[in-house]
Every structure is written in structure tokens, then in C-alpha cells.
């Protein structure tokens, strides 16, 4: 099974947060070649905060 196929309804939102967390802060880095523009970083940060709030709510229900 894979991360994409194994996610259950309860963990689907958590899986998305885990994915974005890994894609943005994990993985091999090409020195000096990370190309996220400043405006995009702000947008991503905002999206992640919204998602985390949604996950908190989902997990507390």
C-alpha cells in the first residue's frame, strides 16, 4: 500500500498536512535551486495554517 492509497477518511486531512510538511521541509535539496517565489511561500504558509486548523477540528470531533 502507499501513502496515497492507504489514507482513510479520518487520516486524509492529516495525510495532506504530512505531505505538505515533507514536500516543503524534507527531501534532497539542490543547493540554491529551490524556486518557490516569496509570494508563493506566503500562500503556502497560509494554506498550511488553514489545513492545520481544519485537522485540529476534525480530530477533536
Amino acid at each position: 500500500m502507499s501513502a496515497t492509497s492507504q489514507a482513510t477518511a479520518r487520516t486524509r486531512d492529516v495525510a495532506l498536512v504530512d505531505l505538505l510538511d515533507r514536500l516543503l521541509s524534507g527531501g534532497v535539496v539542490i543547493q540554491g535551486e529551490i524556486m518557490l517565489a516569496a509570494a508563493d511561500i506566503d500562500l503556502v504558509a497560509l494554506d498550511v495554517r488553514v489545513l492545520i486548523a481544519a485537522v485540529d477540528k476534525a480530530l477533536s470531533q
Binding site: M1, S2, A3, T4, Q6, A7, R10, T11, V14, A15, L16, D18, L19, L20, R22, L23, L24, S25, G26, G27, V28, V29, I30, E33, I34, M35, L36, D40, L43, V44, D47, I52, D56, L59, S60
Partner: protein, 217 residues
Amino acid sequence: MTLLVYAVTDRPPLGELPPGVEGAPVWTISHAGLSALVSRHETAPVIDERSGWAYEQVIESGMAQAAVLPMRFGSTLADRDAVVQWLDERARELSGVLERIRDRVEVSVRAVWAQGDETAAQVGTGREYMEARLEPERRARALRERIGQALDPLADASRYRLLVRPSAPVTAAFLVPRRATETFVARAAELDRELAEADLTCTGPWPAYSFVGSDNA
């Protein structure tokens, strides 16, 4: 034009790869015994839910066929020559990390405080304020110890972050032998039932994103 790099493997994936970010075809560029999975784009792709999962599915497809080093999203190089030069410069390092994560997967474990178990922060005196601030840290460290005792013996490596949010005392990643994944997840589920103060959520198996960075080399 730019090439988005998804992952590096020490052999080209045997089967066909799914479409990549923005539906772009994915192919491999090989050099020095390594292959980079890439797709071509007009400009560097922006991450969102759709592009993130597309990126992940390409890497998982490669992971099903060979050991792969996932790249951080947004890693781009100008063209084929730049990819070849990069593989040439980093070949020894990349091969070493590939060996360390071969036949292993990453499993994520997130702990949140159980509902109604969050420490009240409404306090009056300075001493109460300090104690209220220290208490979550003490409790998070204790929970991290408990999780470590249960799960570290089943993993080859682990990484922990404490209190990334007030409601999330422990965020952890484990590098687990692929054949032991089910045992690991079962133990995590058992631990979740044992813990009254926190709820654990497990996701994965992921490519080893948290164990391939330069600080893990």
C-alpha cells in the same frame, strides 16, 4: 523552460511512470549510475494540494520499483546538462544516502492532546504563568519518551519535533524496514489505545523525505 526533479534512484524504474505535476510526462536522466526523475515546465511549478499529490505519486511509483531519494518540492534545474552535472557532483553522497534508505519507508506519527486534556492557560500570577508555560513542555517531553520507548525499537531511525502547535505535543517521523511496516503501524495503534492523554495518527508509508536531507547525510 526548466526541469522539475522528483527523485533520484540508482536504476531507472522498470515500469511506466504516472503523469507528473500539471500532467507533464515524467522521464529519467541517467548519469554516474544514478537516474533523476524529471518533467519539463515553462516555469517552476507552485505547490498546492493537486500538484503535491501528483508529485508524490510519481515518487511512490518509483519507490514501488527501486530505492528512491525524494527531492524537496520545487527543486529545479535548467536542462539535461545541468541534471547530469548535478548527479556527477553529488553521486557519492546520493549513493550513500540511497544505501541507507534502501528497503525502508517513512512512517509519520502525529500526537494531539486528547479532547479536554489541554492545559488551561488562563492564569493570574507570574509564577502560575511560568508553570503554565513549562507544563506543556514537560508533558510533551514525557509523551515523546513514551512514544520512543514503544516505537524506536521497531525503526532504524527517528526524528521528533515537540509542540509544533500547542495542541500537537509530538510530531515524529520513523524510518522503518519495509517488511516491518505493518508491525510498526499495529504497535502505533496499540500505543494510541494505551495513551489516555493523547491521540496518535499514523500516515504512510512515505518516501524517506525526513531522512535524506543534508543534515541526515
